[in-house]
Amino acid sequence: MLIDVLPEYGVYALILALALSLLQAVVPLIGAWQRRPLWMAFAQPMAWGQCLFLSLAFVALALGFLFNDFSVDYVANNSNSALPWYYRLCAVWGSHEGSMLLWSLLLSLWGLLVSIFSRSLPRDMLARVLGILGIISSGFLLFILLTSNPFTRTLPAAPSEGADLNPLLQDPGLIVHPPMLYMGYVGFSVAFAFAMAALLGGRLDAAWTRWARPWTTVAWAFLSLGIALGSWWAYYELGWGGWWFWDPVENASLMPWLVGTALMHSLAATEKRGTFKSWTVLLAICTFSLSLLGTFLVRSGVLTSVHSFASDPSRGIFILALLGLTVGGALLVFALRAPQVKSPVSFGWLSRDAFLLFNNIILLVMAITVLLGTLYPLILSSLGLGSISVGPPYFNALFVPLATVLCLFMGLGPLSRWKRMPKGELIKRCALGALVALVVGIGAPLMVGERPWHVSVALGLVLALWVAMTSLRDVAASLGRHGLKGPARFSRSHYGMVLGHLGLAVSIVGITLVSNYHVERNVRLNVGQAVEVGGYRFKMTNLADVPGPNYQATRATLQVTRDGALIDLMHPEKRFYTARRQALTETALDAGLTRDLYVALGEELDNGDWALRVQVKPFVRWIWLGGVLMALGGGLAVWDKRYRRPIRRLGEKPS
């Protein structure tokens, strides 16, 4: 039967993919160097073949999960025949080996997309870009085949039942979070490949930035979405009601996002004005290096969290070597080539160029802050200097002032012109926005809330309003001057910028309000008892045992009322997963745009009471809504006509 040997076909497909990616790495790069068109032409078919064979390997593993082939170690460790089919499918990337396979598959998919949508690039440029992607891909495929083969078998005595997927991961959030995050992580490899190709080709003009911009923006949008989904998942699945823990794994995804944001803006400056050429290349290298560092931190087992699966040190060393080679090699090429690059363009201190540069630096400082807080404990413990942990206060203490400055410049940037902006006109343009932001931001918490006014709430609201007002100003002014035709004159990428900035403003509102105004109580309740939290009355009306497909659950029913009116019936659960003998809290949520009600069952106490975590979280949804808006903004910016027009025209030219 075909199904019996499917894992072997999977390994075979992986080996073929490695062979193709090695060809893709070597032949086109030599071809570009020696100017041999035939050799350069290797790049595209190799990228297609690599993507095809990785897809086959991925399908082979997925079928192993669907048909419960427990002779495959990875399937046996992460699945169970009682697991519903959709979680069996997601379990493919539920642990180390499979998620590395997903990483490689997505990398080859990005390669495929580049070879299709950027096929009208100059031939040597395309050959170099795909060659660099081939090098990265070879590294990861070697890593998979040598240290983390997902198709390893236990034969002939295969286990009859699997150990089940980690219950925390049996959730719809798992279906989408890792692929989104990886699309972002891996997507920055395209920006990296473009930067390296430009360095190698010695053509560090503005052209490469125009080609690399849409790819970077798409990767950034995916990463934003991935981070927002991860935060949302942690919020409802971990049962604590927190949405960001400054956990090293979260930090690992935040660092490339911060530097990637800087890269996206710096690319804009380089494309439009020819400024910051070397700086942009350096940011592209940094962004991808941080993506790799994130992979290393999460996968090497040096950290302990839900995400770290690999505790095999050889894997950690392999990724560290890969990281060192990539970063070292890239920086070496940069050091050899970049000094030849000059940015002869000058600009004044009050100009869009300058504000973008300031914010680039601030974003980089934020990333360094996170890096320091994440790596410091690791360095100390590896030097044997004691075990420490860096708490959230460190990150909060540094992020609030940095984000404040960031938001100030973020408002000034879109208002000013490139090169030079007269002081008087800048003040005139931002006066209304600043006034509205100050008045509403300081006044609103006084007027609306039942809660006391707090300076950090006012600060957060002022900043959010400032960012929103300034990003909308151009469109609004044009609406006033030209009527309804005015806004149509702006490009899609302008609206992408507006949407992205609005998204951050929305997130800031959410973060500010939920951090300052959330109400949280831990109580003990029994059937018939009630508790009042934040103006809502939670009454436990029932407790029942409910069987699930692969678990046993205790389900409580809570009647929520406000001023006597019924709001909702909530059903938090405590589940006990039989295969892993692991307990899990299933939170009950009553979600709303202005507040979430959050109930989680803690543990059963001696007399039949239950410990309950009851929380009212105002505006918490805005945090993720902002993330979604940012991602949509990225999508809109890429949709801009100007990215499609020149490529089509170039494509028609006989080459």
């Binding site: 302990t304 839900v306 802050t369 410091y376 942990s389 708490g391 206060p393 460190y394 307990a583 309950l612």
Partner: protein, 164 residues
Amino acid sequence: MNAVRKRRLMIVLGLVALVAVTVTLMLFALRQNINLFYSPEQIVGQEAPTGRQIRAGGIVEKGSVDRNQDSLVVTFTVTDFKARVPVRFDGILPDLFREGQGIVVIGTLDASGTLDASQVLAKHDENYMPKEVADVLDKEGLSPEDYRAARAEGKLSYPEADRP
């Protein structure tokens, strides 16, 4: 020195100053917010500071968990088989908290030597041992594997709580 050079010098000096200030602030914030880890033996030996947030870890001693009857206050003892530290916690214990389980506690030590916990961490599955706890046990000549094996054979003086 011509005007261009002078301006460049100013920019470089400004950047250096900015970086210096930032790094100083970062290190200062870092010093304020790191939590050092202490083993029960160190805490009983009065090596740990009082009134400042620390982390501690060990095995939850069998039979030591005591819940208050009408609040969520719980007390238990954490041990590294050399010394015992009483812990007081007002809140909801994590799903994987069990007697005999390795845990990490974040809290402050009061004058009487009780650790007032703000967070109790017990992550992963029942065989998982927090790294610090594993190191503490290692000093006793016990590896987590030994500990697990001994626990399975019932040789340990602090056997694991009955499994469901």
